[in-house]
Point group: C4
């Protein structure tokens, strides 16, 4: 509780669109450098306003290592672009470096971000495509999830107080039918109210937090633990 | 289709030689940092003009982590250097830091870049020497290619709409006879019209796109998927 | 001896709080970039004054890749925050970028830092959560330590003169009872007077030095050797 | 031959002490970032004058990620420091950031650098402590060397014209008796006149070139190929 209060200060708190956009760009470049957002993959979002919902989210198909403010869109709960809340300076979504006007579009997965914001009350949602979340989402698909327990790193997950905590990371089948996938996400979130993230098979990781600082922390922790499990499985077999 | 149109905006579009040269240098430094262009390996090119063909391409034997504009050459379809289109400011190819005049030469592999530009109508061609493309090009040489399917990341490849897509990455025998190798590349491109890239055994990966943004995206996606396959093969054997 | 004297010059020596704070931030960002301090994990400290003891230490739950001076606290030997020695410019612990006042708290593990400072006479203590220290702390838990010998890199550990040196890195059971864990640390340090660091199972590595330069060197060496042991075990089994 | 002539232009050519010192610092920081010079390990040198020999070499025990000009020493062929040729601005070897005067000393391994400069006519010698050169120097110690053949990357080694080249990387037993080790190095260089580098068991890699550009290229190529061999051995066993 006190700890949580400290957590929420551990990153540049942002209220204005400009500050959220800056933090999204900083996180995007850092995760891209780690190889978690290669090939324009992944999506990052943060809540700008709750009622009515306004979400700042990275546009579809943009290079996360090159992210510029105008590539972050303001959308409503129906994924409609609210152009009058365009990030960065007007006019609208024209890239400073463009010779021609560019209209960026939200990713199809924006639906999943909105679902998570609503059902978890999240203030930020981050989605990464890392080597190890892709690998383990396939290796453990049969069990429909991954059990992680006994690691100190787990204490960084909101509300966790001991390394003895057991975290279940659900794995969902991948699909291109976004409304159907969003419904699956909803039911998984409902069945696993304690989960801090979930995997989509051979696709990637979703995690979230009350703000960007907490969501970033959760992604880093789950990515670290997934690689730890993968490399430990390899090494241990060596010794038996 | 709409998606493709968004894709092509996802990177600084460039028309002028100066802009192409800047983007090539940015990509070179980024790929070098990932270990994909060590030891002066690899080549990067982009089309400056179609008719007659003018290609901007990295010179032979230059450090990709230190790339400067004068190390990018303008060549014609016969790989002749068009000195009057020298990148950077005159005079010609003299390095600002040189005590003596340096004449940079195009790589022998320039032939392959031109072949890909002509047969795929590519606007940019990128060639990397990564750890995992080198390893898998040997491990799968017997099958003469690598099948990649079922990964969401595949959707980042131009024209792919679902993770259920099956991508075949052909593997070509390496050779120092460039005209012969170029002919092999032509026949492989013809036999695999859907391929987004190919491997040369124990040598490296070639991919391309309609512009530098798309070619960069394709390289990042194929490199990511090759490492995923390699690490998954290792991990899975652990468990059986 | 002469060597030691040179060692202690091998990093920006710092006396003032401002210089210590700068070096802690530089080390934090560097280790974070290597993935040794993800998810706000780990703690870094340096002695500002010996008598009475004043320790500069990173606050609980702060992003090590974003560390700013005000997130480094000055504490006494009872882990009380000495606000009048607040790092950075006044007023107190308010983050420049905060909209509201933030009070940072020392980590629970501050107790371990103080114990190491007192029992080893250390001038700096660094604690990392790396992939390989987490993995080997589990794999070797049964032996309650890891033997490292025969590596040239060992010579970088203070007082070691040959690669034939045999270093024992003790492994301690993890616990959330900090006073109890601190006592365990004390007895381990007493039983292993030559040890340059220790592991806490599935938690992380602690190392230290006479100053930040030496502590940084020790962490880098032990992390390097742990990964070397892990990857060697994997590769060797390949060949047998 | 023509190729060689291009090679030697592929990096900022330097004549003055100031330029050599700058290039050594750039290479040191880059290799440190890759984890090849952790814990103050490794040494980098370049010839400033041939007759009498003057060598610029990194001082013992300095942080390669923090290298400053005054930590690069000018020595003669007997490893004596030529203070009157001190790098950087006078006075002598006092670190700008030091509160007290610091006298940096050459590493004991300076002897090996001088031996390589004399016996290979090298203009630069680089010594790295990477994860994979440490691992393979142990794994292949029984064969007293590592055979590398069939990789395109080999063509980046000076004088190599085809991937069919077979490179033998000798492995020497480690020793703290530097004169004896230097003699062993001499006899190994004599027995293997074509070698571009050698390993010292559980210690590290030495490579060299006619200038810093070529030596940097050789280190990057050999490090890349050693990791390729190590990871391939792991993966292949997976499949048999």
């Amino acid at each position: 509780m006190h700890k949580e209060w400290v957590w929420e200060q551990s990153f540049a708190m942002t209220e204005s669109v400009e500050e959220i956009v800056t933090d999204l760009a900083v996180i995007a470049r850092g995760f891209y450098a780690r190889g978690w957002l290669l090939g324009t993959s992944g999506n990052l979002s943060a809540v700008v306003r709750r009622d009515p919902l306004e979400l700042a989210i990275t546009a579809s198909g943009v290079d996360k290592g090159q992210l510029i403010p105008k590539q972050i869109l303001m959308i409503d709960e129906n994924t409609r672009v609210l152009s009058e809340h365009a990030a960065g300076d007007s006019p609208g979504f024209i890239r400073s470096s463009d010779k021609n006007h560019t209209v960026y579009k939200p990713s199809d997965e924006t639906l999943l971000h909105i679902r998570i914001v609503k059902e978890r009350g999240a203030g930020a949602v981050l989605h990464t495509h890392s080597l190890w979340n892709t690998i383990l989402s396939e290796v453990h698909a049969g069990e429909r999830g991954i059990q992680i327990e006994g690691y100190e790193m787990l204490k960084g997950l909101e509300g966790v107080r001991t390394h003895q905590h057991s975290e279940w990371v659900p794995i969902i089948e991948n699909s291109q039918d976004m409304p159907a996938l969003a419904d699956t996400v909803s039911s998984v979130l409902e069945r696993h109210p304690q989960a801090h993230g979930f995997l989509i098979k051979r696709h990637g990781l979703y995690s979230w937090g009350k703000d960007l600082a907490q969501a970033k922390r959760h992604i880093e922790i789950i990515e670290f633990l997934l690689e730890t499990l993968g490399q430990t499985a390899t090494l241990k077999s060596r010794r038996s």
